[in-house]
């Protein structure tokens, strides 16, 4: 086997493995180095296993609402280890799928940690170690760093695997915590809060900012808060969490906020306070690669300041989303192959939170659109006025659109409610294709679907909605 490749990919997450597959498609010889498991955090400890858990909690919620749909059942119960086992099984199965895809694409895989080890002529050398011993040195003119990110550890809030959980512990509970504190209300914190609340835990969310889901339009944040509080969650914003006093099997703390200071004792704490990029031990010192805090600095085509070294996905900075990593992987490889890909437009990347209700958005919030100098037209439409949503018993939700009043450009779309994560792509296509309100209004939406709310929210911004 040759030790020289057209491309070396470091990291086998949704950025790295997709880059490797695309490179193989374009006829390159590709090596991929992965230290733990293919699929990365997304597939093993993030997106996919949490969706499996959230599906179980959604069923749990429906089982407790059977009367609404004309059913009755007694002694409905669940077996948490089985729910967790299902989630782990799905992660394993998907991971196996990726190994198969890489094999089929004739990508050479290496098990170990990779580190840049200087140059050999035009090529970069990459040293691979396993358990501290070097197992191989491979070379390529092109190296893509796709090493991902990990949960941020704040002093005093470090996860300990027992009482203070990170995402891994939170998705493999041995038993259901009766009382749970979630620190941080980004997508990860909110999804765990939603899972545990739907399974029956008493959940408190502490968020340092003045509203939850800070990346979303404030109106959607407010709607989400209202929905979660209605489900019985306790939400404290502008919260300062005091020292965590660990007991035998519980944690006590005080939370300060504008509404006063409260003492709180819970069984478990989930810490979801952001992420940091995995930039350590990559051998960046010997290169011109620039790192800003914990993220590698790149241009629109994922190039670093060192020729031949690229970075994609979480390690290259926000937004920390699997689909952003995959897309960057593809465009980076296409650029290396001499094609003419389009640089990624940050405002065309959708964000999704799979809580109940779901939240999804793309583009600018109303306030950001105004702040960046746009004259806007805003449309809103509630699920309450949509036939399918009512039939499904999912009346909690709304769609909000923000258009440029002059050009008709869809500046942003913000949704909350059932299945919005499946629908947001409609607006993402509109943004990517640079459609205006005219094309959205012309589009025939199928009836009855919840997606009709997307049509109505566009009409609401212009001619006026029909069904309200």
């Amino acid at each position: 086997m040759s030790d020289t490749f057209d491309l070396i990919v470091v990291g086998g997450g949704p950025g790295g493995y997709v880059a490797a597959l695309r490179a193989s498609q374009l006829g390159m010889s590709v090596a991929i180095v992965e230290s733990t498991h293919f699929g990365g955090v997304c597939l093993n400890w993030g997106c996919i296993p949490t969706k499996a858990l959230l599906r179980s909690s959604e069923i749990h919620h429906l089982l407790h609402d059977l009367g609404t749909f004309g059913f009755s059942a007694e002694n409905v119960s669940f077996d948490l280890p089985k729910i967790v086992a299902r989630s782990r099984g799905i992660a394993r199965r998907m991971g196996g799928g990726i190994a198969h895809l890489l094999k089929k694409a004739k990508v050479t895989t290496f098990d170990g940690r990779a580190k840049l080890a200087g140059r050999a002529g035009e090529a970069h050398k990459v040293s691979i170690t396993k358990d501290g011993a070097e197992v191989a040195v491979i070379k390529s003119p092109n190296v893509i760093l796709a090493t991902g990110a990990r949960g941020r550890q704040l002093p005093g809030l470090e996860t300990d695997g027992k009482l203070i959980w990170g995402a891994r512990e939170a998705m493999t509970p041995a038993e259901l915590p009766k009382r749970l504190l979630v620190i941080g209300s980004g997508a990860i914190g909110i999804e765990f809060a939603s899972f545990y609340r739907n399974m029956g835990s008493e959940v408190t969310i502490a968020e340092v900012a003045d509203r939850i889901l800070i990346a979303e339009d404030p109106e959607i944040s407010a709607a989400a808060r209202k929905a979660f509080e209605k489900q019985g969650m306790k939400i404290i914003t502008g919260a300062k969490v005091g020292p965590l006093q660990k007991g035998e099997n519980e944690v006590s703390t005080t939370i300060e906020s504008a509404s006063g200071t409260i003492d709180l004792t819970v069984d478990r704490v989930i810490c979801a306070v952001g992420i940091v990029g995995n930039v350590e031990d990559l051998g960046l010192e010997g290169t011109k690669v620039q790192v800003d805090r914990t993220h590698i600095i790149t241009d629109g085509f994922c190039r670093t300041a060192e020729p031949g070294i690229y970075a994609i996905g979480d390690v290259a900075g926000a937004p920390w989303l699997a689909h952003k990593a995959s897309h960057e992987g593809i465009l980076c490889v296409e650029k290396i192959a001499g094609r003419s890909p389009q640089p990624l437009h940050a405002l065309n990347i959708p964000g999704c939170t799979y809580s109940r209700p779901q939240i999804a958005s793309v583009g600018l919030s109303e306030e950001k659109a105004i702040a960046s100098g746009h004259k806007v037209r805003v449309g809103r439409f509630p699920f309450m006025a949509n036939g399918k949503a009512v039939a499904m018993g999912e009346t909690e939700g709304m769609v909000k659109t923000v258009f440029d009043a002059t050009t008709g450009e869809l500046l942003g779309a913000h949704m909350i409610g059932a299945e919005v994560t499946e629908m947001i792509q409609g607006y993402v296509i509109a943004r990517t294709g640079e459609l205006t309100e005219a094309e959205l209004i012309e589009t025939v939406f199928p009836h009855p679907t919840i997606s009709e709310t997307m049509h109505e929210a566009t009409l609401a911004a212009f001619d006026g909605p029909l069904h309200i």
């Binding site: 790149t298 241009d299 629109g300 960046s372 004259k375 640079e434 459609l435 005219a438």
Partner: protein
Amino acid sequence: MATDILMPALSPTMTEGKLARWLKNEGDKVSAGDVIAEIETDKATMEVEAVDEGILGRILVQEGIEGVAVNTPIAVLVEEGEDVPAASSGQTPAIVAPAAEPVAASTPPASAKAASREESSERIFVSPLAKRMAKDRGIALGSLNGTGPNGRILKRDVEKSGNAAPVAPKAAPATAVAIEGDVKRVPNSTMRKVIARRLTESKTQVPHFYVSVDIELDALLALRSKLNATAEDNSFKISVNDMMIKAVGLALKKQPGLNVQFTDAETLHFENVDISMAVSIPEGLITPIIRNADLKSLREISREAKDLAKRARAGKLKPEEFQGGTFSISNMGMFGVRDFAAIINPPQAGILAIASGEKRAVVRGDQLAIATVMTATLSVDHRAVDGALGAQWLNALRDIVQNPYTLVV
């Protein structure tokens, strides 16, 4: 019969304006004298009145569109029950580029000019947004270089081709490692653009020279207190600025050599003394005029100045209230500045920059004394006025301010 409502010329010099706001909607009934829209010119927001009655059949130029040339049809007025034409009724000559046609949901076929270009060449790939923006700006699609997938023309390609309009933050440049920090992009208002253009013109084309003088204010301040003390129920309150307007008016009467305007062929000497006073407003700066400042009483000046400043801040000045003027005053006394130099407001030949009055040590005979002193700096167009005259004028002004009784006699 359908008639066009044209972009009005709200002042003799206006060539184009921005359609700031429609106050009537399509389908609304209008009567003669109804205010139907607001137009933003380079300095103010003006109202447009309907001259006929009828139904506002179709709005041709949408809100927010800039650079609408005078006499462009902006809407079509129809009679009740009459069919609404898709575009201009054709009762008036064809018009200049921006937004000649509706920008509404149902986009009518492209204009004849654009269509012929498109037909004559290969199929043009263009996003709906880029197509609309190009049309609004009067840019032929054939002239654009598409940078999207398969050479598709995108919004950014239209924006790159010029014709300023709100611009969204662009993707990082493709060629080098360059990370853009967070930049808030605020499109320049019409007023900001005019300020930029006119002051650049002034600083590059008018040779400025500057003369400064210190003026003692104690006598003027004492007079002001006495005058204001006579006001019953606060019926008036004269400010230092009001008194300076009058003093400058009198100085221009006494030394008329600065009340002039330079043109290539001749220098114009004005009989009237009309003082433009710079008023700072959130969008920038505007210079409403106190006409015949030398002839008006302090009370009249005070009342007029207050009213003009208030309406200037509300954007409600009429063109004749800020266009013209023979000399300008810029007063930054309220900001605690020691001195500053102002840029001449063309085509005028001079502007006086007034700084703060402050207690300073002055020498009288061989004694040190304390006086309230203000530094005034005159900027003069050297093409029309020479240094000695500038100095003489400043001396005349100082005499008037330091012996302020002439302001009331």
